[in-house]
Symmetry: C2
Subunit: 602 residues, 2 copies
């Protein structure tokens, strides 16, 4: 391994384009171009809509759909992930920026750009430091509950623009409080356009494709027409407003969208601003990463491709920085567009780059056509898009599997709705950690005895076993660490107090994967207290890594008993007569237990 080959391996790892680029062929190009065309048709209206969702001028969404896609094509390891603005990330961005400044102000836009930059930097740092495991702190029920809660909140937030009512708020509670009392002020024409668009889009999800096929289209073109439904809805609504002059009758329209590509932007450098945005940026980074990586892994598995989770962090981080540098907002991998891109035959990340070119062309030449686009149509687009993220059905299996995790899930949802996104996520993370520590703080501990005539030891409550009144054998089914250290201490104290004849305590450590300092301190206390009562403490079946660590303390010197290779050896060395009887019976019935051993911990 020369230094050069190490460097080239590093380069190939950090720039995956070096891997697939040289093999790029004409056939790959066709697949990528078709996918890019379909994705662009979704991406252009979605970018506009998500920008409005975050309370931003529409072009900010378009900017976020160019540079990030080009950069991800260079740095990303997923062949099918479609990055860009997506619903949950935009909701979180909007909520965080609204804490800093009012929507529509330059400070608000500055905060949005700073957030994208900060999120990008955090993701790159996490990738380089291999801190991707931070994403693990979002347990599955918390992520699932949060996405559903965010989607419901986004959908509720669209009801205002959909019906032509001014609403505001960063939580479902606030949104409903500002919406419900003013439902009577809904504008009929706006509402009619919006509701018609919603109905069309809902129908289009299932209805267009069979219709096209009945009209004689082949399967694939029919699919493409179906994917273009949102774009068609936007075009139809815009045309209707323009033709009927509905904007003069109170239908809010998009107005002037500046044409032209984004220029290099420098986010405001303000330490106070950055400090305020640090926690939101971290949450946005983690949520964005969790969504993106799960989409990427799922799609990669379908074609047995590899995705490098640490490199994905770097790629998404670079994409975010690219978005910030071109005046855009935070981006992530979008579930719907990725699936569409994959189905449409995208072969490489170049598909994303081509989609960016599509958005760029639209930004250069199509913005005048967007002038009469009614905002209610964009609201309809978001409303229907986020409905697919709502998954209340996940509540039931969670309840069945674990009441504690169900509680974490529901708490995340309720707090998101009542108090906002950050509270919901933080509460979910805190509760998951707490519930885990609580569950492990009272681990399963079994008093074990010997199955007569064998070297096996089992729970006295589940099996016919032999025990010796002078020996108390305990098997702890958990690692020993601070949440349960004192529990073990109290348990041994009580077990010994209840068995006055005991002279030896053996802890079988077969399920003990670690012993931390708190547990070591407890073991040491147990050892000392037992010694004062004339009882010796033994350990059995201690794993290699645990033993290595114990050797770095004074515990083994203090231990009144010994460390034995197995529970059987421990008992044998304390009571040699037991071993002899087993050897004898083993000669008679050896085959059965050896060829078909009992499961070790039934």
């Amino acid at each position: 391994m020369s230094a050069e080959s190490g460097l080239s391996a590093l380069l190939r790892r950090r720039l995956p384009i070096l891997e697939w680029g040289p093999q790029y062929s004409g056939q790959t190009l066709v697949g990528d171009l078709v996918a890019a065309a379909i994705v662009s048709m979704m991406l252009i209206p979605q970018s506009l809509a998500y920008a409005l969702l975050a309370g931003l001028p529409p072009q900010v969404g378009l900017y976020a759909a160019m540079a990030p896609l080009l950069l991800y094509a260079v740095f990303g390891t997923s062949r099918a992930l479609a990055v860009g603005p997506e619903a949950v990330g935009c909701l979180m961005t909007g909520a965080a920026a609204a804490q800093v400044a009012a929507q529509g102000t330059p400070e608000h836009l500055g905060a949005v750009v700073a957030l994208a930059l900060l999120t990008g930097l955090l993701m790159i740092a996490m990738g380089l430091l291999r801190l991707g495991f931070l994403a693990n702190f979002l347990s599955h029920p918390v992520v699932s509950g949060f996405i559903t809660a965010a989607a419901v909140q986004i959908a509720a937030g669209q009801l205002g623009p959909l019906l032509g009512i001014n609403t505001q708020g960063q939580s479902l509670r606030e949104i409903l409080e500002s919406l419900l009392p003013h439902l009577g002020q809904a504008k009929p024409v706006t509402a009619a356009i919006g509701i018609a668009a919603v109905v069309f889009l809902l129908w289009a999800k299932r209805g267009i494709k069979p219709l096209m096929i009945r009209f004689g289209l082949a399967d694939r073109p029919a699919d493409i027409v179906a994917k273009a439904a949102p774009a068609m809805a936007i075009v139809a609504c815009t045309a209707a407003v323009w033709a009927s002059g509905l904007d003069a009758r109170g239908v809010a329209i998009l107005g002037t969208v500046p044409a032209g590509l984004p220029t290099l932007a420098v986010p405001p450098f303000d330490p106070t601003l950055w400090t305020t945005l640090l926690l939101p940026a971290l949450l946005i980074a983690i949520v964005g990463y969790v969504q993106s990586i799960s989409v990427a892994l799922t799609l990669a598995a379908k074609r047995r491709q590899r995705v490098d989770p640490d490199q994905e962090l770097i790629a998404l981080g670079v994409a975010d920085i690219g978005s910030a540098a071109s005046g855009g907002l935070h981006v992530a991998g979008a579930l719907s567009r990725s699936a569409v891109s994959f189905d449409a035959g995208a072969q490489t990340p170049a598909a994303g780059a081509f989609a960016a070119v599509g958005v760029g062309l639209a930004t250069l030449f199509l913005t005048p056509l967007l002038f009469y686009l009614p905002k209610t149509a964009l609201a309809a687009l978001i409303f229907v898009a986020v409905l697919s993220l709502v998954d209340f059905a996940a509540l039931r299996p969670t309840w069945m599997y674990s009441r504690a995790e169900f509680a974490a899930m529901v708490a995340t949802m309720l707090l998101t709705w009542m108090d906002g996104i950050e509270s919901g996520l933080m509460a979910g993370v805190g509760l998951s950690v707490f519930l885990h520590l609580y569950a492990t703080s009272r681990p399963h501990v079994a008093v074990i005895g010997q199955i007569p005539g064998t070297s096996h030891f089992r729970n006295v409550e589940r099996h016919e076993v032999v025990t010796d009144p002078e020996i108390l054998s305990l098997r702890v089914d958990a690692s020993l660490y601070f949440p349960n250290a004192r529990f073990i201490e109290e348990l041994v104290n009580e077990s010994v107090a209840a068995n006055p004849a005991v002279r030896h305590v053996i802890l079988e450590c077969i399920a003990v994967n670690t012993i931390d300092l708190s547990a070591l301190e407890s073991l040491s206390a147990i050892n000392k207290r037992l010694a004062e009562g004339g009882i010796s403490l033994h350990l059995a079946a201690v794993k290699g890594p645990v033993m290595d660590r114990l050797k770095r303390s004074h515990f083994l010197q203090e231990l009144t008993g010994k460390v034995h290779l197995s529970q059987f050896e421990a008992v044998s060395s304390i009571k040699p007569e037991l071993a002899a009887s087993v050897l004898q019976s083993a000669r008679v019935s050896a085959v059965a237990p050896s060829a078909k051993p009992l499961p070790d911990h039934p």
Copy 2:
């Protein structure tokens, strides 16, 4: 079991005095009275000193040394724990109250009393709800680092009164900042008395007892004289100030301490105040409990007595409420006085009640004598008392055992000193939890193979084993839960990508104590992805409780492979020819593996 006997068992559990009270004898009385006399001699000056430490009028300390001791005698399960004001609890109380109001104001005193009440209520709630495990969140390195840091900070805080300099601050940094620039303003006479008291008390710890024995005293009276050293120092200093009129020369004295027993006090009910004090009260409750229970358990073990941890929470909580109701501050079990009481022959909690009577008599009749007590002498008393809590020696073994836990310990100490008690403790707790989750997020996973001719499977890297190219067997040495769920997912993905011949993946779950919903979701994803590549997933040696839970999900129906009783059975059912060869060789060499099994996880 009648309802009556259930009730009487509950009563005996909640009122341990019903257990030991009826058996109280004359001999027990003598032991308790002697212990009470010695403890009172320590308790009276310490109560005054600790009240000053918390920035309170001295009588508040005396009040905290009466009602709480009487109540603990009724509710406590430890025969030797001496409750009352103690150094760390008073420091924490003073710091929390100072956040609410300036020392010396009625609001400050009100906050102190409210803190004691709140702490008491929290402890009782924790005891009744069996939430004593909350104390486990303070891992050993964090508690140990915190106590040392607090003791150093208390000692540094006494340098001001000791030398006659006004200092202030709630962290070591603030204390030193207000002390060091004014060292030149030390008052010589005050400093002389204080330093003399410190030197005498340090010498007295070791020197008095041998001296008394040389003077002809028996061992026991000599011991009592030694324990009375602090009281003697206080009397001597007070007499010196009174006789020489040193108070007129600038030596700060205690002044008028109101005589008489405390009257019933009602703490201020102010929701804002209570909300502010909730977190400090929780920390005080947990730290107080951890200190008390470890002292109680250690002393109980020496006489093989029982301590009920949940009932201790209730007893300490009631004691705190009693303190609040009589205008006192938070109390806890004090290490030094408990050890003295135990050594002096205390037999029952009545010893504490008798000590309370001693303090009561002093409060009734001795307070005029305290007028000339120089504050520098009380500072000397605290200074010497807390030195025994300083344990920098614990740093080295912690470093040796675990770098991560060492980091948690040092972070706790530094943050306590730089930013205050709450920051230090919270950071320590947070870091402990984080480090634990980090450690378990990348668990040890071994590829395992069969030891030829046996039914045992071992790590391929440590043993000569046989593997089949179509079977990938993995043993995960950890519970599967949210911090490591994704890691396992990625690991299986990568292992399969690296072994294209694989048709079966077997996860041996012998060390898996739980599978949470995140891990279940990952297993489900693994199963689906493997299925798309034509690979089946099997589980082996799943423990009973884990299996019970899996049955409450759809996972077992989706699983492409089977759940096998053991790794051996899994391999045998996939490749029956392997089992046959083992059965054959088992007939030849059955005794050895059966009678002396290899340790299961070397």
